[in-house]
Symmetry: D2
Subunit: 418 residues, 4 copies
């Protein structure tokens, strides 16, 4: 059997081909010379399998899609608090190239608009990094997200630099406001370079899933940034990634995403999937026409939406086995343990009548336990012990740490429940 | 054993008590006369269990927290497309009472700012509804969300109406722009009435979880709005609910939420939980000081955040059992079946060598199957059959429909896998 | 001989007829039903002679052209300082119906935009005026400016009131901000009524020249407002009268002016002339197409421009006669005495050598003496006396008061110089 | 006798000394190091006499006060139409350093804000001027306005250039929008240099009066720019010169003016006077505190206000002499002949009964005749001749050209009337 997923992507790609709608970016000759009919779609799973459909090997420059990743690098290198002092996180309601600075602080509104991205670029590496050191850090960082060494398209870089007046204006403006230090021209050069890295939709999907997976590239297994940083980047993409259409994108697509003027869009659905598309014809907002359609379709057909409420019939406690002889009760939990599922489990434990002597939690079918669920399960076991129950734990995946149930007692550990 | 969840809420409540920071709303005497020290926290699970801490029975007027629910009623009564023609979904970047109309269309930017909420109010009920019919539809709708009959605080309503000049300005403005029909004063009266319903934090949590659960009130089991409407409301809350701090809220809290000038805030984490807080002292943005702190704390302590990437170690295929005698392979799946988990399962199925005669999917440990996963599993079984395998299905929960595997064949159904 | 001035106006009118460019105002049926080909031009001199060309007797509603006059009435009734607390004087750069309030104070930016005019309307009469008293004060005031009783067009008033949603929005907004007191609907009714008075271009020219002449209607000789009030109104018309084209109007026309949606425009060139035009087809800014052209042409052809620098070859001291016998010197001044001309005169007086015994100032050819010139001439005479000259004064027009030259001496007064 | 004018200025200066209010500009050390107590006032008459009070020889950099003069040079070199394509004339309502570009055209709103002044600077000289040629043209132009060679303060220039990030941002922005050509850095260097010329209040008054006098420096008698250009500059100063306080300045001062961050302000009252002040302590808007006060005082005390309506009692026709013997009537006119005064004169001529044989116009007391008055007087004479009168003209100043009265007849010219 062959998995049907590539066929799904191809089906989506073909259904979203809209022919000659939209216009190529034309402000530099290199972008205007691209084959306008290219169209590729990709997805990367949390464990690093990449599916593609269409012109999957076509290279294009990363452009504004570099912004979330370089923001991640800045957050990693300087810390969230320091970066927040320099760049806000509010949607500006403006187009990508608007100069949206907060009136009081002079901070760029967010790191997804150009002025914010230029500022963010200067925050990669240590405070005293030279231009070359910063460029190197960006290259290494973007390559780590992609899981392969990325290269700059020198021709595009040169063309962009020759017409980068608006970006130069922005760099001087934040320099005037004391938001960035050093030479504004250096910031523009570095930012323009960061936008000129060549990627494919395969790269986009892997980079996207690295954010969705909490900062670890699932192909290389390398941790690129912390889970906290990944979460911050995803949050900012969700509200600011699609510029002046944040609300529309959130309601119709519901996937934190970022597009580039080269025709690419990538999306990261937290803890689920990374997606990439490439089709160079742009709409009036500067987004890929077919790319936007593909995202709308993937969201709908694959149930990929932040606001999905469909997962509701969770049976956290798969069974409660009562040993007729001993009266021992074994609670078999299953699935992912979060606040919601742990709460359900605890509620069932709370129903145990006082007389029961031994109570065992069987986690062998539990797929994951997050921080709050860990605390809740541990608290539940302590309370059971305090109520006089003898507490057992079947935790073959070692999802819970060793704990003291009170009075120096520890749960009876079993490799498996049955 | 008693479940520790109430203790968690109490701990959060106590940790977030900040004493005398913030100011009571004072534009009407009724709000200024509230006991400023009240502080309650609540949570409602997807299956309708409510936990509270603090002054859980204190009543307060729902105020702007009515906006998402009345938006839901308008979407239900007129359809998403019709409502979108009248009210946008983009964050305005402004305070709640700004008059943010889209330059070209004259539409209010979103239904969470007053001008958008006044417009939304006029869209509840059929187009020819009288003022009383519309008021009744709102009352019934809000009561259905809360699962109990809600009443208007007449004193507050009267006070608000006496000083509703700014809302009257907005109503006249959208009337001038042809966005609403009829008498602007009627719209203001209705909107003001909608804001004067009395609720408790218990109500807030139930109303919140009704959205998080896709439109079904888990206490009364009543479907109030469709899952599609609930998703639309949650998306708009996520980008526009906290007015000019949408991005900050998304990154620090990450829970779609809405606050009211009476000091309440509610939050709905899709498919997870509904939350409510009440504490009447307000910050400069008009949000409850302690309420905001409580939400930040709940997000962090309970891992409640849209962008959580922690759930990663999913073992969708719990085991593959190979019958030595027959060579039959049984794939036991577990957890929630989504695009991501179904994809993982299909990948394992794709590894089956051609010679294997019988393949069985055991869904007895699967907790849920969403639309895309259903399609994927069915496609996978069809492909297995097409490859010449004999396909069996253990689906005691009847999560998959009966299907034709091709050639008129159906999978061998078993009640349980083993 | 017949004066050629009417021919000039007719020539300008005919040269500016542009046929079918522009559109009638159509928001109420009454304005849309006007004969679009009407076109009249008028001018009124400082001594009250009115010239007209074209459809001079056609009546139209005064609309926004009432704003400067009602602003004048409010300044008269409440004083400049009080009115400034409620309405600013800065150009808003917006169209007439924009809601431009100053961020900090909530004041309308200026009295020429609707929201400012509505506010201004409420300041006519004493603070405790009833609606009828205020209406009466406005009617009497506008009639005094025009020099004849003006009447309201009831049909227009009714139509306007039925669709006055935007103005009602503004009135509620300034009421919400505490800028106006009382019932916003009353303010809108009064303002709408003020806009519905019927006028002709003859009326416009007289009303205009009453401002240009410092507040005295030159036809009726009635002082309607003080010179200080007139100056304030003219200053605000100069910067705010033509809405978002203040700078363009100042450079190409240079006459403080105000237009109305009925197709009228009036202009007041200080101390020179009042002008009126009427032609109902409007441009995109809501100004009369032919009216704007007529003003441009009048400014150019008749040298009517605030920034005119052409009047330069002033000979203030027409002659200095030296009496051979007595050595007495008589300085004959001529023209209007201002700071500039008095300074010139004083400079000549400063050249008198010490030995001259008697010095006489002959003002018989002086046309006017303003406040600063009066002080300067008196100071000059005192200084001459202090230098030991015997000072004489020929002032048949009694333009200077009786003064003490020092030491109890007074100038020798002569009825005529020679 | 000594003219009292210097005493008036000193009196104003002393009355406006406010001690330590306000702050020195501090963005470069050179401005922060100025003696804060300096305060000088100056005035220059239309015939080139300069009066001063206070520290009249103190030099300071011209800063933003260069903007109107360089605007004048650009208008001279490229024509008004071409410059208008690049820079608008509307008040921006913003502070001096705001980036106010028209949304549709990308033009700076006006030449008085920095971004407009930078653009204007690039329009001095021919289109192909090199940087040095443009700098030279600016230096020569400013020097011609001042009537003496002006020099750049190199220390200030260097300091300004080191921190000119905001101006560099603006230059890049208008370069990006295609408003300026060439290198944005060159534009910033040139503009910064233009702001660094050293002037005194004496220079300011002469430069100011050169505009007020229609472009001719009354000291050197050199025509620097045309009257049309001067008028355009004055109009733009009137609406845009004082940034976000245009309306307030127009109503309280009423003199087209421009201020600089060095503490200078100059004002040009058309056809009347040029004024300059210098006092380095600045208010929150960046205007000299004492300078603003001095202008308010000069406006009030010296009756210097564009909207003055006081000059009203003009007696244009000083006398009509009837020769008993011949019946000849001689109309003696006096003062400045404008549209308003010529109209008065023509009206008197229109009263001549048909039987009168000879009519003479005596212009010997007329101080000036502008274009429209010239046309009107000539038309009046032609009409008199057409009515059968024999027309005489006493015009010792040759203010009217030789004309044909119809039928090849010319007026009888007399050297003097009597």
């Amino acid at each position: 059997m062959k998995t049907p997923v590539p066929d799904y992507l191809l089906e989506i790609r073909n259904a979203c081909s809209v022919g000659e709608d939209g216009e190529l970016a034309s402000y530099i000759p290199e972008l205007a010379a691209v084959d306008p009919d290219r169209f590729a779609v990709s997805a990367c799973t949390l464990d690093g399998v990449v599916y593609t459909a269409g012109d999957a090997d076509a290279e294009f420059t990363i452009q504004s899609m570099s912004k979330p990743f370089v923001y991640a690098l800045a957050l990693r290198d300087r810390g969230i608090a320091t970066v927040l002092e320099k760049v806000g996180v509010e949607p500006s309601g403006d187009a990508f190239n608007e100069i949206s600075l907060e009136p009081e602080t002079g901070r760029p509104e967010n790191p997804m608009i150009n002025v914010g991205a230029i500022t963010t670029h200067t925050l990669v590496g240590p405070p005293d990094a030279t231009e070359i050191e910063r460029d190197t850090a960006v290259q290494e960082g973007l390559s780590a997200f992609a899981g392969r060494p990325l290269d700059v398209d020198i021709t595009v870089l040169d063309s962009e630099l020759r017409t980068a007046f608006r970006n130069r204006a922005m760099a001087n403006l934040v320099r005037a406001g004391g938001i960035i230090d050093g030479d504004p021209d250096e910031a523009v050069r570095g930012y323009t370079r960061q936008c000129a890295y060549r990627v494919t939709v395969r790269d986009l999907a892997i980079m996207a899933v690295t954010l969705a997976a909490g900062g670890v590239n699932p192909v290389t297994k390398e941790r690129v940034v912390s889970a906290e940083v990944a979460r911050q980047v995803l949050a900012v993409m969700a509200t600011c990634g699609m510029y002046d259409a944040a609300g529309d994108w959130m309601s119709t697509v519901g996937i934190p995403a970022k597009s580039g003027v080269s025709g690419g869009i990538f999306g990261s659905l937290p803890a689920q999937v990374g997606l990439g598309v490439f089709s160079p014809r742009l709409d009036a907002h500067g987004h890929s026409v077919e790319g936007v359609r593909a995202f709308e379709r993937m969201s709908r057909d694959l149930d990929l939406h932040l606001m999905n409420t469909a997962v509701m019939d969770v049976e956290v406690v798969r069974s409660v086995r009562v040993d007729e002889a001993t009266g021992r009760r074994t609670f078999r939990l299953q699935g992912a343990m979060t606040f919601a599922s742990a709460e359900l489990a605890l509620r069932r434990l709370a129903e145990i009548p006082p007389g029961v002597e031994e109570v065992t939690l069987d986690l062998s079918r539990v797929s994951s336990v997050n921080t709050s669920a860990r605390r809740m399960l541990l608290d539940g076991m302590r309370r059971l012990a305090a109520d006089g129950h003898s507490v057992g734990l079947a935790d073959p995946g070692n999802r819970l740490p060793d704990i003291d149930l009170g009075g120096g007692l520890h749960p009876i550990r079993r490799k498996a429940a049955r």
